[in-house]
């Protein structure tokens, strides 16, 4: 009789290890507290995707499990958290990160520890180009791609005097550099007559707006977002900066940054973003319905990114039929899949997905911000030629 509990215990342990063998773990880390406005919807998107995948039977006969962690918003903590996911949680691959420097640090760690990393949100071009490595893939349209998407409209205007305002860190700096380069190429007589680089989150909007007015611009290129953008819009409207200028604002149409503007949404600005209520494609409608049903809330861009990230991981695991990093890399290179924004490919040449973005103009109709005159810009059309990319990647 005494042996029975021991036997039961052994059985239970066997059963447990069986269950463990049947799940594949995805390790996810992000700066949930630092960039909460974007990342809360992002997490909801991930959870929706996870639920759908597991309801449909999981991947390769196993359930998917998401192990999600706070990365503290700095590379040092993020690397420690990633180490924990790799060595203690034994995850099959890593995903996530938001800020450029955190993404780059984790990407570098991924190469060092030989584990696949799908960078979900960092926009920095370097993560797939200058600092690209064979273990790192990136989902979202990069700073360069989104800047390039705005160029056709900017060129059409034939404005000569441009001023630029951007948050002073990697994202704003590289958006500005790409914009200047691309616009000068398409329109050689363009002049950049002023530049303002306020610290992220700390724009002194009154002084910045006045300085821009003094430069007498015809058009403005901005990559501000969040609180900086709201302050800039309010002061700029008040002081009449936008009266005779055309404004281009990267990311300005993303619900995360657009919705807080409400009735103060500036009319006619050209932005990249996500007009979630107006996209009628079947793929998006399916996502929209499922999301609203699960969360009783509308999706933000973060939701789409989180959702698609988990599907990218699942599809890679399916195609590889394994969790082996080398097989996963082979599967992700050239992986084709459907997303709420339509089909994408993870390019073999630089591991960048061709996920696009919506380009359009802002409108304050009905007391809240929305996008009008929009079109979908497929990411594949806004990437530099393979030869240029190869040079950047030093391959």
């Amino acid at each position: 009789m005494k042996r029975l509990p021991v036997g039961a215990l052994v059985l239970a342990l066997l059963f447990l290890s069986e269950v463990q063998a049947q799940t594949i773990r995805i390790g996810e880390l992000n700066s949930y507290k630092t960039f909460a406005a974007f990342l809360e919807p992002y997490k909801k998107g991930m959870e929706l995707a996870l639920e759908e995948i597991n309801r449909a039977g999981g991947v390769n006969g196993s359930k998917l499990e998401l192990v999600s962690r706070e990365d503290g918003g700095n590379p040092g903590d993020a690397v420690r958290v990633a180490e924990e996911l790799i060595s203690r949680e034994k995850v099959a691959l890593l995903t996530g990160t938001f800020a450029s420097h955190v993404g780059l640090a984790v990407a570098n760690l991924a190469a060092q520890r030989k584990i696949v990393f799908i960078a979900a949100e960092p926009l920095t071009d370097k993560i797939v180009w200058e600092n690209g490595n064979r273990y790192t893939f990136r989902l979202r349209a990069s700073t360069y791609m989104q800047t390039a998407m705005l160029i056709p409209e900017a060129v059409k205007l034939k404005k000569q005097r441009w001023v630029i305002v951007y948050p002073n860190y990697e994202y704003g700096q590289s958006a500005t550099a790409s914009f200047k380069k691309l616009l000068s190429k398409a329109q050689p007589d363009v002049q950049f007559v002023g530049e303002q680089a306020p610290p992220l989150g700390k724009i002194d909007a009154g002084a910045v707006v006045q300085a821009l007015i003094d430069a007498k611009p015809e058009a403005i290129f901005s990559s501000l977002f969040g609180a900086d953008l709201q302050k800039f819009v309010r002061e700029g409207k008040l002081r009449g900066l936008f009266k005779n200028t055309v404004v281009f604002n990267l990311l300005g149409g993303e619900p995360e940054y657009l919705d807080p503007l409400k009735d103060e949404t500036p009319e006619g600005w050209w932005v990249t973003g996500y007009p979630w209520s107006q996209i009628k494609t079947p793929a998006h409608q399916k996502f929209l319905d499922a999301y609203r049903k699960k969360w009783q809330d509308y999706p933000r861009l973060g939701s789409v990114v989180g959702y698609t990230t988990i599907y990218s991981a699942a599809n890679a695991l399916r195609k590889a039929r394994s969790t082996d990093p080398e097989k996963l890399i082979a599967a992700l290179k050239g992986l084709e899949m459907d997303t709420p924004f339509g089909p994408i490919v993870y390019r073999a040449v630089d591991h960048q997905s061709t996920m696009g973005a919506y380009v359009g103009q802002l409108s304050a109709k009905g007391g809240k911000g929305s996008m009008v005159n929009w079109r979908f810009a497929d990411g594949a059309n806004f990437l530099p030629p393979y030869e240029e990319v190869r040079v950047l990647r030093k391959e």
Partner: protein, 605 residues
């Protein structure tokens, strides 16, 4: 620039100065009377913003502003009575720890109540338009702010100069003990001052909502600005704070106007460094009255007792044997803990035995880390050489900065260290070619023979333990005793032939050098280094570790670093509101063991 735009920019500067002054005045008032460095002052400001946005949807903007300020003032009174009252007797700087914990709790509370999205408030009814100035425009609301700053200054001045309450406050600012001895009820005086300071912070925040959305990152950015203003103006001096706010706001505005917007990152710290080097007590500050009595002299350190030595022996043995029995992640976490233990011990070396405050110790940690990265990636040095040379770079910086810092004392010296740290930080942030800018340096990995977690753990253990033992030995060397003498009785120490400043300078340099060792080890353990490594947050973390462990104990920084690092790791993994959880644990510890964890261990011997 045309004449009109110079004028408008000047008025912009005045409006910003008013906003700055409101929040700085409260901070200055609180510090002047209670000597509390209120780290949560920015959080009170943030609460004022959220409260005002929330209220103005219900009762309109003009009622919402005073209401929000009153509520925040009330909250300040509660905080003072429940928390700060219990720890006035504790070592100085402990209040810093308590208010830091408060900051964490308030941040998460705001997230919980108001959500993550920024809340843009309404424009002020009646002041929503602009006034025409020549061919430019200035918001009416800015004019209102411009008027409000001096108005608050006058009201405060009248209150302090003419009312009985104000006279008591001034008496307490001048000489706390004497005011108490003359029968002034300090308890209510302190509560009242703290409430007033909180009210001013809340008012500052509430008045800001037509210009800026309420958001969760405003607390830290406001507190650092307010500190700078208070110190530049002279601690406890309200007119000084006004003058400083004016100076700093105009400096920032004209950086933007003249096309040097990138300089706004650091211009306030440059102003502060310049002011403190020329006027050590700020623009209008006075030499602070010395605290009297035995309470002012910290207890001396004792060499570790035999029991303590046995604990260390067992602990070291366990740390050496640990890799045999643990998983790889435990080693990663322990490597972090060891590095921070050395960082905290190096900070403790100047805070405790030398009595030099530093709010910018992360500079030397970061410089060590950056030097390691630059030597190994740009200089192509072997990793071992880079690791050996990097601390020297940090030490060299400490040698230069230290020369200025030891000339000042107390919070002024601490703020000068902060100014230098911020200047170093912004250099790392902006110097793309050398430091990789905001991305930092990526790909700093150890040599192959040290690449395994176990090998790197042993390297860290060896270097950190060695450096910590060296620092402890120094405390009980003639040099350490000289530092103690210089801290407790500078005049007597000089009279007996100790070169006080040189001793402190040397201590500062040694602390910087050892922090640099920690930084270099950190860089190679993470594979990358970014500006955060030398940011304010890291300096604050260091202070928190030292204060958690206990300033007046030898081994305190070790326990503090271990607890804080482990707590952050564990809480962030398991709890959504991990910042609040960390804050709550710190608050509990502060109230239970005001002298730190180390004192708890010592008291049981």
């Amino acid at each position: 620039m045309e004449y009109t735009s110079v004028l408008i920019q000047f008025l912009n500067g005045l409006a910003s100065a008013s906003s700055l002054f409101l929040v700085a005045a409260g901070l200055s008032l609180i510090f002047g009377v209670t000597r509390v460095v209120n780290f949560a002052h920015g959080s009170l400001y943030m609460l004022g913003m959220y409260m005002a946005v929330w209220l103005s949807e219900r009762i309109g903007f003009w009622l919402a502003v005073p209401m929000a300020a009153a509520i925040v003032g009330l909250l300040g009174a509660v905080v003072e009575m429940v928390l700060l009252r219990k720890i006035y007797q504790a070592p100085e700087l402990l209040q810093l720890l308590a208010t830091f914990a408060l900051l964490l709790v308030i941040k998460d509370a705001a997230l919980w109540v108001w959500g993550a999205e920024d809340l843009l408030g309404p424009r002020a009814p009646g002041f929503a338009g602009t006034v025409q100035i020549a061919d430019g425009a200035l918001p009416q609301y800015d004019l209102l702010l411009i008027a409000l700053g001096p108005l608050v200054l006058v009201v405060l001045h009248f209150m302090l100069a003419k009312t009985r309450w104000g006279i008591l406050i001034r008496a307490a600012t001048q000489d706390r003990e004497m005011a108490g001895a003359l029968g002034v009820n300090q308890r209510w005086l302190f509560t009242g001052v703290f409430a007033l300071g909180a009210l001013l912070a809340g008012l500052g925040g509430a008045l800001q909502i037509p210009r800026e959305p309420a958001n969760l990152s405003i607390d830290l950015s406001v507190i650092s600005d307010a500190f700078v203003v208070v110190v530049v103006g002279g601690l406890g001096s309200i007119p000084g704070a006004f003058l400083a706010a004016l100076l700093i706001a105009q400096a920032k505005t004209f950086c933007i106007a003249l096309g040097y917007s990138k300089a706004t990152l650091v211009v306030e710290f440059m102003v502060m460094a310049a002011v403190l080097v020329i006027r050590p007590w700020g623009l209008l500050g006075r030499v602070p009255a010395n605290l009297r009595g035995p309470a002012a002299v910290p207890l001396p350190f004792h060499p570790p007792s035999p029991r303590m030595l046995r604990i260390f022996a067992v602990l070291s043995g366990a740390l050496v044997l640990l890799p045999l029995a643990s998983d790889a992640y435990a080693l990663v976490l322990l490597t972090d803990i060891l590095i921070f233990a050395l960082f905290a011990t190096s900070l403790h070396f100047i805070l405790g035995p030398a009595g030099l405050y530093s709010f910018g110790h992360a500079a030397y940690f970061g410089l060590g880390a950056y030097a390691a990265g630059i030597f190994s990636l740009q200089g192509k040095f072997p990793m071992e050489l880079a690791l050996a040379l990097a601390p020297l770079a940090a030490g060299l910086a400490a040698l230069v900065f230290g020369w200025f810092c030891v000339r000042l004392s107390g919070v002024y010296s601490a703020m000068l260290t902060l100014a230098f740290a911020q200047i170093a930080w912004s250099a790392a942030f902006q110097w793309d070619a050398l430091t990789g800018g905001s991305n930092g340096i990526v790909g700093v990995w150890p040599a192959p023979w040290l690449a395994s977690k176990t090998a790197y753990y042993y390297l860290t253990l060896l270097l950190c333990a060695g450096a910590i033992i060296f620092l402890w030995r120094a405390i009980f060397s003639p040099f350490g005793y000289a530092l103690r003498a210089a801290r407790d009785a500078p005049l007597r120490a000089e009279a007996s032939g100790i070169a006080v400043r040189s001793m402190q300078w040397a201590a500062f340099t040694i602390a910087g050098l050892t922090a640099g060792i920690a930084g270099a080890l950190y860089a190679f353990s993470k594979g990358s280094i970014s500006p955060e490594a030398m940011g304010v947050q890291r300096s604050v973390d260091g202070l928190v570790m030292v204060m958690l462990g206990g300033l007046q104990t030898l081994s305190g920084p070790l326990w503090g670093a271990a607890l804080f690092t482990w707590l952050q790791d564990a809480a962030a993994r398991n709890i959504d509101y991990w910042r609040a959880a960390t804050g709550a644990v710190i608050l509990a510890l502060v109230l239970l063991w005001p002298n730190g964890l180390g004192s708890f261990l010592q008291s049981k011997k």
